[in-house]
């Protein structure tokens, strides 16, 4: 009888383990990195629009005007003495940007956003905290600068998230979207 109990225990463990591993491993959005820009098309003037690209932290992204790399994306308790309000959390992002043009470019505080619920049609997003991010950063031709962005978002927001950048041309035409995954 003891043997039978042991066997039942062993089988229960097997069933539980199998339940964990198969077939319902995770319900998260896969957040795979892409091989270049997907689903884009090119206008007659050579401008690529409406595409999107997913990369990991540390991967370089080349946009129309500059290259950028997210050095770190991490959850922090505070940033420059700024603490998250109740039921909120802070995500700090460090991005290094290199101006690839022969003229100066401006980075607005709302050029980057943090998005989550990536698997939903209506994704949630926030822009950086106003007081803790310069309203505008100017980068000279061929210059490289590192900027810090701090996002305050709902405490229950879950990974995978992404730092989001959307190219917008001066004539209002939208370019491609870039996602730097935070998994």
């Amino acid at each position: 009888m003891k043997k039978l109990n042991k066997t039942i225990l062993l089988l229960s463990t097997l069933v539980l383990l199998s339940g964990c591993a198969l077939p319902f491993q995770s319900k998260n959005y896969p957040a795979w990195t892409t091989k270049g820009i997907l689903e884009s098309y090119t206008l007659s003037d050579g401008t690529s629009i409406d595409g999107w690209m997913g990369v990991n932290v540390g991967d370089k992204v080349s946009t129309k005007w500059y290259d950028f790399t997210a050095n770190t994306i991490e959850e922090v308790d505070s940033y420059q003495e700024y603490k998250a309000s109740d039921n909120k959390k802070l995500i700090h992002v460090s991005i290094t940007i290199t101006n690839t043009l022969e003229k100066d470019v401006r980075i607005d505080d709302e050029d980057f956003a943090l998005v989550w619920d990536l698997d939903k049609e209506d994704r949630s997003y926030v822009y950086p905290v106003k007081d803790k991010t310069p309203k505008e950063t100017s980068i000279k031709a061929k210059e490289t600068k590192t900027i810090d962005l701090i996002f305050e978002l709902d405490k229950n927001a879950k990974k995978p998230m992404a730092v989001y950048y959307y190219e917008q041309y001066e004539d209002g035409q939208k370019g491609n979207k870039y996602y730097i995954y935070y998994k």
């Binding site: 043997k3 039978l4 066997t7 062993l10 089988l11 097997l14 069933v15 199998s18 198969l22 077939p23 319902f24 491993q25 995770s26 319900k27 998260n28 959005y29 896969p30 795979w32 990195t33 892409t34 091989k35 997907l38 997913g54 698997d119």
Partner: protein, 306 residues
């Protein structure tokens, strides 16, 4: 057909798995219809003169296509018969003359196993049905009882059995993946997985009792599920490898997401899963068969006892 046969035989016949068994004028007779060759076979276990030319002559008078063959104490009479419904007519026309011939020529009804002239009973031995004498039945029962007792004494090594079962599933898993690679639905390989799981469990554990049966079925089931996941992961991988930096593990982890968001994928996944589970159920009969060989006590069944 049975009712019509009964006109001649009374209630004195049994029907098992497509064959009629009866005793008529002291002879054990088995009648079976072959739907492929459109013939019926009437067989008797009899001992007597090997020369059956006279019998064939008699049969040819009834039907030129009726032939008797006699080898190893088995007399087989074959006659063309386009429909099974015609058998009663043909048989009823034959039985009296045939048994009279056998009696007149001193053919003795014998036991199928010992081939001695003994009183026989219709028995099923390992699902093979035939007329066997009581002595043979007792001997077989004794032999099986000893075999069962010996098997019961073998200690089942469950940990080794688990390892064996897992090892036994691996060839099936590889074949499953190969068929997926060749774009052939691999669900049928669930049979091989279950076979491997059962046989290798028994090989390593030296026995298969109830825990062994449950464990081997469970391990086989997990492998079938895993193999099915692997196939789906591979199909996702094939579909998206040109666009994303992915490996099989990535697509495997992404299955739940695609199940939720992609109708075509979900449909294919469910279809494959259903087929796999169906073949898993068929395959698990191997496990049950092996298990039964260690516990079954009813290998010999007397079919004449009501």
């Amino acid at each position: 057909m049975g009712k019509k046969l009964a006109k001649k035989l009374g209630d004195n016949y049994k029907y098992y798995y497509g064959a009629y068994y009866t005793k008529y004028n002291g002879y054990d007779i088995i009648i079976k219809y072959d739907y492929t060759s459109l013939l019926y076979n009437l067989t008797l276990n009899v001992k007597g003169n090997e020369n059956i030319d006279k019998l064939n002559k008699m049969l040819s008078k009834k039907d030129e296509f009726m032939v008797a063959k006699y080898k190893n104490n088995l007399l087989t009479i074959t006659e063309a018969c386009d429909h099974s419904r015609d058998i009663p007519k043909l048989i009823n026309n034959l039985l009296d003359d045939l048994t009279k011939y056998l009696k007149d020529n001193n053919y003795k009804n014998i036991c199928k196993l010992c081939e001695k002239e003994e009183k026989t009973t219709l028995v099923s031995i390992d699902d093979n049905i035939n007329y066997v004498c009581d002595k043979c039945v007792k001997n077989i029962e004794k032999k099986y009882a000893k075999e069962l007792e010996d098997r019961r004494k073998i200690k089942e090594n469950i940990p080794l059995g688990i390892i064996g079962s897992i090892i036994g599933c691996i060839p099936g898993l590889i074949m499953w993946f190969l068929l997926s690679y060749l774009m052939i639905n691999p669900s049928v390989i669930a049979l091989i997985i279950m076979f491997g799981s059962a046989y290798f469990y028994r090989y390593m554990a030296k026995s298969m009792k109830l825990p062994g049966l449950i464990i081997s079925i469970l391990i086989g089931f997990i492998f079938v599920l895993f193999a099915n996941e692997l196939t789906n992961a591979y199909s996702l991988y094939n579909e998206y490898i040109n666009q994303y930096n992915i490996n099989i593990l990535d697509t495997y982890k992404a299955i739940p997401y695609y199940l939720q968001t992609n109708d075509i994928f979900r449909h294919t996944y469910n279809q494959n899963l259903l087929l796999s589970i169906m073949f898993f159920i068929f395959g698990s009969f191997t496990n049950i068969g092996i298990f039964r060989s260690y516990i079954a006590t009813n290998k010999v069944k007397n079919l004449e006892v009501k």
